[in-house]
Amino acid sequence: MNFLTINHVDHTYFSKQTATPALQNINLSIEKGEFISFLGPSGCGKTTLLSIIAGLFPPTAGTVLLEGQPVLSRDELSIGYMLQQDYLFPWKTIGQNITLGLKLLKHDKEASLSTAMKLLQDVGLPGVEHQYPRELSGGMRQRAALARTLAVDPKILLLDEPFSALDYQTKLKLEDLVSETLKAYGKTAVLVTHDIGESIAMSDRIYLFAAHPGRIHKVFEVPNELRLLTPFQARNHPSYSSLFQTIWKELESLEHSYTA
């Protein structure tokens, strides 16, 4: 059985004047432990699909099943969500931020704190639990946000362009960290991005989206030799450039089809 299955999902946004189709007939399935990417231009409905997977709102039509159950009706917490910015609460310390999810789930305070300490260690931020977010750099804050997401032990991680607000060097380092951490914890992940290189370096499979309305245009399997490497090493591998070229041409052809 597939871990996550998306069946015939359509979504339309309504306003007073218009009904805008955002997603059209999306079908895909993800196995446990896979890392997949949604790649595409803005307006292709990537983030909408991610929100639907997260169960934030129901799709206009179609179903999303996680381990055979609809995501909207699940009781237990199964989704971890990371945003473009860290959105750490500035009035809470890093420790309080990381244990926030556990606090809401009414976990034991002592146990939560030791989980937080271990996670901070794992993301390379030992000893900052009493500091406030403003005392940390952008990269450190995004790492703390990763620890906060992992703290509730979600079944699947949804990453909504989590590296796009960072400078290039920090972004490369963080890609490696996220990739290694997710592998170590055996997490399934979906990354939304508009960065071709990032999607190749990080994922096992890439769904290329077309816009107006958002739909899956093509699926690329990342070759095995790249999957085994860290994102940074993958960027230097010969297969990386060839896949980059293939996807680039595909994206170009998509743009031409709009302008034509």
Partner: protein
């Protein structure tokens, strides 16, 4: 020149500027009161109406020694503080209810606008008849004057909280109460504090007007009494005391602000 001496110079410049500010503040204070005293002594202004600092001071000393001033002041102060606290808490509570139910907030929107535009002190006579001429109706005046504006301002702050913070909580499965407690309320503390600062002034207005109407105790009573017997020393003395007390309350709110908002830069 090394960094250490440069740093010391920088610190010395800061201290110097601070002293200069204090000096001019003190200068204005002294100039105002001595100017007032001199103008009064030389009859440039009408002594009967504008009194003089020395007369106010001697009245202050007599009123302190016979205990009447402390009595009036403590009553007014209690009324103001209670009115202030009730007004702010009730306003914040109403704002929370409006945030809780967007439907209710849409329904009540025009009524809030009307209530806010209406001069609340005009309700004074009705309150006094309804609640009796005393403590309760005056506190109600102090509260009612600030409650609607607090509701409107705080509700706007609640609505303005970055939706991504709410999204983070939603992905953790937080319910509406948890969302309010963990994100909406703490994110709105700066706004709540600034309404507190406004409410300090408003509650004094409400309470003094209330005492004008009831006319039995308090600083507002001293003002109307002084006016009726044409004792403007008494009117100005009461005004000075109100100014001092309002300033102290304002400073206390600022202390609260420092304690509550830990993440200011």
């Amino acid at each position: 020149m090394n960094i250490h001496t440069l740093h010391n110079q920088y610190k010395a410049a800061l201290v110097k500027e601070k002293r200069l500010v204090r000096f001019y503040q003190l200068l204005i204070f002294i100039a105002f009161f001595s100017g007032w005293e001199i103008a009064s002594r030389f009859k440039w202004i009408d002594q009967l109406i504008f009194s003089s600092p020395s007369k106010i001071w001697s009245l202050f000393l007599t009123k302190i020694s016979d205990g009447t001033l402390v009595n009036h002041l403590s009553i007014t102060l209690a009324e103001t503080v209670l009115g202030f606290i009730i007004g702010t808490l009730l306003g914040t509570l109403l704002a929370a209810i409006l945030w809780w139910s967007p439907f209710l907030s849409r329904v009540l929107d025009p009524y809030l606008v009307i209530l806010n535009a209406m001069p609340k002190v005009a309700l004074g006579p009705i309150l006094i008849v309804a609640l009796g001429p005393g403590f309760t109706s005056i506190i109600t005046m102090g509260a009612i004057i600030s409650v609607i504006i607090t509701t409107i301002v705080v509700y706007t702050a609640f609505k303005g909280v970055d939706p991504n913070y709410l999204l983070v909580l939603q992905t953790f499965g937080a319910n509406r109460f948890q969302t309010f407690k963990e994100a909406v309320l703490p994110a709105s503390f700066p706004t709540i504090i600034s309404t507190l600062k406004v409410n300090v002034g408003l509650s004094w207005v409400g309470v003094i007007v209330g005492e004008f109407l009831v006319s039995s105790k308090g600083l507002g009573y001293l003002i109307t009494y002084g006016f009726q017997v044409f004792n403007f020393n008494l009117v100005l003395l009461s005004l000075m005391i109100i100014a001092v007390c309002a300033t102290v309350m304002y400073q206390l709110v600022e202390l609260l602000e420092k304690a509550l908002i830990k993440n200011d830069r």
